[in-house]
């Protein structure tokens, strides 16, 4: 397993534009949006916090996770399957699930680095807060990542090839960013939208993240929706995913 992981890591580095995009886009967006004075002013909608304190960084971490799980991961797996690499591996004593495992670990790793970079650069440039409830933050991050990667595996299962997988991923990603509150914070969403947001996996992810910034333990309903999403989509992925 270590060798598969190592080789996949080298391949990821050689295909660096995809990984760089996952890393650089959220950090760049955070720094750029932070230039907007309104986002650096105390916002009554956010309980007097500034947007750059928790709302914006949480959204950017979501963006990094969605990029990794919805476009990079599915397109890599769909390409491997389309070219018969998974099938070739299943003719050896080693199951191709190891490649899938390595891809999950690596994409989680890239998203985690992006999260650290987002929090660090926000802190340095805008004096943003950091997630004080660290254990809660890690729990939310890992749980959210697992649920989103399960969705990514479903995309990899239904897409015929790499480009189709990234296209589907992007198509799913933007509505989810919207309901997560990327453009309208949850606090000022219309009721219907907020209701949708609350059951969307990404909405609870962002809200639970913001709670950990405030030093609070994530709320049970948020975690429950993410667990439900994880169970639902990983079950779907297991049923739909084909190795050839």
């Amino acid at each position: 397993m270590r060798k598969v992981l190592f080789v996949e890591a080298k391949l990821l580095v050689r295909e660096w534009p995809a990984a760089l995009f996952t890393l650089a886009l959220p950090v760049t967006l955070l720094l750029a949006l932070g230039q907007i004075p309104d986002l650096r002013a105390a916002d009554p909608d956010l309980g007097g916090q500034r947007s750059v304190d928790a709302q914006l960084p949480a959204q950017m971490i979501l963006l990094a996770l969605l990029t990794a799980s919805f476009t990079v991961l599915p397109s890599a797996l769909a390409t491997y399957r389309e070219r018969g690499m998974l099938r070739r591996m299943s003719a050896t004593p080693v199951h191709p699930a190891r490649v899938l495992g390595a891809q999950l670990v690596l994409n989680l790793g890239v998203a985690a680095v992006a999260a650290v970079a987002v929090i660090g650069s926000g802190r340095l440039v805008y004096g943003s807060r950091i997630p004080v409830q660290l254990f809660g933050f890690v729990l939310v991050f890992v749980l959210g990542a697992a649920a989103m990667m399960a969705i990514g595996l479903v995309i990899a299962a239904v897409a015929r090839n790499g480009p189709t997988a990234s296209a589907i991923g992007s198509l799913v990603m933007f509505p989810l960013l919207f309901v997560a509150g990327m453009w309208i914070p949850r606090e000022i969403m219309p009721d219907v939208l907020r209701r949708i947001s609350d059951y969307s996996v990404v909405g609870p992810f962002v809200n639970a993240m913001r709670d950990t910034w405030a030093g609070e333990w994530p709320q049970f309903p948020h975690l429950a929706v993410m667990v439900a999403g994880l169970v639902l989509f990983s079950g779907l992925a297991v049923r739909l995913f084909r190795w050839e």
């Binding site: 060798k3 598969v4 080789v7 080298k10 391949l11 050689r14 295909e15 491997y80 070219r83 018969g84 690499m85 099938r87 070739r88 591996m89 299943s90 003719a91 050896t92 004593p93 080693v94």
Partner: protein, 301 residues
Amino acid sequence: MDVIEVRNLHKRYRDHVAVDDVSFAVASGEIFGILGPNGAGKTTTVECVSGLREPDGGSVRVTGLDPVTQRADLRRVLGVQLQSAALPDKIKVWEALDLYASFYPDPADWRELMDQVGLAAKRDTAFAKLSGGQRQRLSVALALVGRPRVAVLDELTTGLDPQARRDSWELVEQVRDTGVTIVLVTHFMEEAERLCDRVALIDAGRVVAVDSPAGLTGRVGGGQRVRFRPTVPFDDALLLALPEVTDVSRTGDRVVVTGDGNLAPAVTLALAEKGVVPDDLRIERATLDDAFLALTGRKLA
């Protein structure tokens, strides 16, 4: 001893029968060809042998193992080179070999293997930058890296230029010399004639015949033809008297002798005794194409 036994193999996909009824046995150390036109069921057959597909009927044994129920054991004794299987674009030759070696409990030394398939100079080259022939050789090396007893090579030389094809043939012969039994799937009769000890001709999911290439071509009547232009006139009776000759015909100044056995030496010897020199001598034999045509009424390619 038979390394592979296939009995009454049957496999159908949703709406058509890919393999109707295929039986054959492959002896240890031989190069066994599976020859037939596209869509005859060759690939499905070897996929069932390799445990990549589950047969709907019949039985398959590879070194005594059932590819369905003893999949894990089979993986250790059988290496495959799949038609159209690829590697990631950016993986280097040595990395692919090293990675696949790590999949097996007792792998071959991949450095030696890399030398053997002639890729030592391409060690650090990415898969995407390899030529078709180099990719095929890497693919063969990956099939062998687990020290298999049986190697299945599917459409090894399809899409290769003539030189690369000849290099691949030499490689296959070298591999056989190391004691590996080889199943070679092909639709090139020239390849089967050159490499295989025995060939199964497959058409429409059924085995038409299993024999050595010479045995198969021998089944075609009027097996050989010798054409030449005699330097001095001679009587047809001279050649018709030979036991190998069945017919002599003339078109213009050319003579065409049909027959079998050691036809060409017998003819040239008889001519030499009468002081006739056969100019522009050509020997034509029945090919596996002819054999396939005679056995199925259809052309191979």
